[in-house]
Symmetry: C2
């Protein structure tokens, strides 16, 4: 006998309406295939007068009443933000109802507490849709790779910044021009800060790091640098050096007990699998000691893809609920400290505007040598006022690079440190 | 209270010993992270005298005794082949023990029956390791994409053939030379037939199609064409036309109720995400109506990667067992018929050795036109005895192409149809 499980939605925008549509249109396939009979009971919306293809008796503006409704067995939170979403999710979990959410801010800032509530109630708190849209990431990392010793996760997890950098790379435009065009075409928000300054990716990085290393990383602990400083000149120079500039979220297990979690633009070798991830596509590259390198690729946003992730989680939560079971997500984390960025090693790309006269190289070499940073390759370009030096260092600590930059800035022969971009993905 | 779950292994070669090592070395991390305390109880091996880093009281040559051992709660089958693996797996499931296997032959030939047994016993029959080594595929497709209307799955699921075709592409060598070198380096077996003739990939394709479309496809129902016929000349011509030749497994949902499942070399546009999957790496590309295009990439074979998939399944099976629950895999399939290859549409690449004289093109055009096949692009190459015509057709049915080939072979102006390769992955 297949038991019907009714779902209550908090919020019904693009993702919510698509998820409701899938639950209605594909209920037969889902029931046959997964053994769960899913239905929709209630939908909390801001404006019930808006034209929707939903029975009017499903709709309410009272989100709390959806959580409390005895008919609602699984709660799907798609409102976004911390408040009131956080309290509604907590209330649902406390009352023994599994929760599915796409809310990356909530998971990356209150995830630990909500997972504890879920564990106490022996129900699921699932958030596949919070990272990478429809790309299965959370379940593969938490379940399929449960035995893996994951060392590093590098992801392109923000479609807007990948779109902008891809177009800058392929068309040669400036950041401002491409951003404006992206806004016009709907690939970037009117206020682009959450994307281009890296906050969206930082929340996703916190979630990925928590999963990959069995720990709990808060979004505020993620070092975040946006892509506003990436110039067309550096992208072109990267191309000449065999690199591509990508907006990366990087999660690393470092020296036994600490993790590094950071978001910044980075140069990757143009042969790296992430280098071919174009426009608004997302991908997450996982490196582990047993399985080696793996990559998960797909659309990282949009109603359809995100709804697929939400529905997958609903099926999982409902199956577990019917069976009195619960998935394994992040039950007992190890709480690895997050290492400060100054103690993280990278290679660095630098572009320096220099005075065109003898002795410049010697002065530069001194600044690097003083701080124990060695230079891997160097190109001298232009003459007179346009003289530039572009170089890539060997791996060094961020703190040593920062000392080097201070010393470089103090040199008479250096007019400006025009660009500093981290270089990743080389074989060591 | 964490309950310990003891695992019994049937077979302990490369994959088995690595899985046992992971269960021993990472048991703390696995327990903390997933809430399951895993231990090894018994290991059935062919030669107990072989040097192994295992307690001798675990070892036995009697596989049946491992299945029957009351201490063994989860059975891991890594013997391969149908017999005796099939009967041992069936016996374990009948006695209410979940089974984890990496045995693609068993799953692709007796999977339906074994899944029925598992359902009857309310335990899991899991086989993540049977396709794509350590790449999470089964769980993402069956669970994360449970709501998706999957239209097509295209995979590079055999590392040996991808290795050979990649080296032929990058070095320009012949199939025979590269195969011999691959055998020397351990990338191909002494008897390479299972790989180069497509049988290994056909078994994996049957499993992928069954999962993706919620049906049951037997390995024998998969149309299979190996890569022995791919020449360096065609690979080079593909490159000039903007294609790469890849060993593909293709699973498609066609016209409402039927599926197509086939394994053959194919030309893909060099911009396709699968085109960059090099050497022995595997990847599976999934196309669905809501989530769009997704790709899963990683090492498709080897002890480490495959063991990771096995351990992920053990964790899942053990967690479910402790909770009296069961995963959703392929419970009630829809049994879509497999459409015969003759009724499947593709574009085709053809290379024809022709007589170098006027009127050849008109004769060719007639043969194509008679069978309703239209030509998309055509290149005439060489002179005299070396005259060749290379062309790519628009999409047409395999049966129409076969009729065309018969007619081409009968033409005086055609000396030989030197190559026929299907072309996939173009936007329609």
């Amino acid at each position: 006998v297949v038991q019907q499980v009714k779902v209550g939605f908090l919020g019904c925008g693009t993702v919510g309406s698509e998820a409701v549509r899938i639950l209605r249109d594909r209920s037969d396939a889902i029931r046959r295939y997964t053994g769960v009979d899913l239905g929709v009971a209630r939908v909390a919306v801001r404006d019930p007068g808006k034209d929707r293809d939903l029975p009017s008796d499903w709709l309410t503006t009272d989100a709390e009443s959806v959580v409390a409704d005895p008919e609602v067995a699984v709660v799907v939170e798609l409102m976004g933000g911390l408040d009131p979403a956080g309290e509604l999710v907590a209330a649902a979990l406390r009352s023994g109802k599994p929760v599915v959410t796409a809310n990356k801010e909530l998971v990356s800032k209150r995830g630990g507490e909500l997972l504890d509530l879920a564990e106490k109630a022996n129900v699921d708190f699932l958030f596949e849709a919070a990272v990478g849209g429809g790309i299965p990431l959370i379940r593969p990392i938490a379940e399929s790779l449960a035995g893996e010793d994951i060392r590093r996760v590098m992801g392109i997890v923000n479609g807007t910044t990948n779109y902008i950098l891809t177009r800058m790379t392929e068309e040669g435009g400036s950041f401002d021009d491409i951003l404006a065009d992206a806004q016009r075409l709907g690939y970037a928000e009117a206020d682009p800060s959450a994307d281009v300054d890296g906050h969206d990716a930082a929340q996703k990085a916190a979630i990925l790091a928590s999963l990959a290393f069995g720990t709990r990383v808060h979004a505020d602990d993620v070092f975040t640098e946006g892509i506003r400083g990436v110039s067309g000149e550096d992208i072109e120079m990267a191309r000449r050096l065999g690199y591509v500039v990508k907006p990366l979220a990087v999660c690393e297990f470092v020296d036994g007990d600490e993790v590094s979690v950071r978001v910044h633009p980075a140069m990757l070798p143009d042969t790296h699998p992430l280098a071919n991830v174009r426009l608004s596509m997302n991908a997450v590259f996982v490196e582990g000691t047993s399985a080696g390198e793996q990559m998960f690729y797909g659309a990282g946003a949009g109603g359809g893809p995100t709804a697929i992730a939400v529905v997958g989680d609903i099926v999982d939560a409902a199956r577990n609920l019917v069976q009195g079971a619960r998935g394994p997500h992040m039950s007992r984390p190890a709480l690895h400290p997050v290492r400060d960025i100054t103690r993280i090693d990278n290679e660095f790309y630098l572009r320096l505007e220099v005075v065109d006269r003898p002795g410049v190289l010697a002065a530069l070499a001194g600044a690097f040598g003083d701080n124990g940073v060695s230079i891997k390759s160097l190109i001298q370009e232009g003459h007179g006022d346009d003289a530039e030096i572009v170089l890539v260092t060997h791996t060094c600590a961020e703190s040593d690079m920062r000392e080097t930059l201070v010393e470089l800035a103090s040199l008479d022969s250096v007019e400006e440190v025009a660009a500093v971009i981290r270089v990743l993905g080389e074989d060591e």
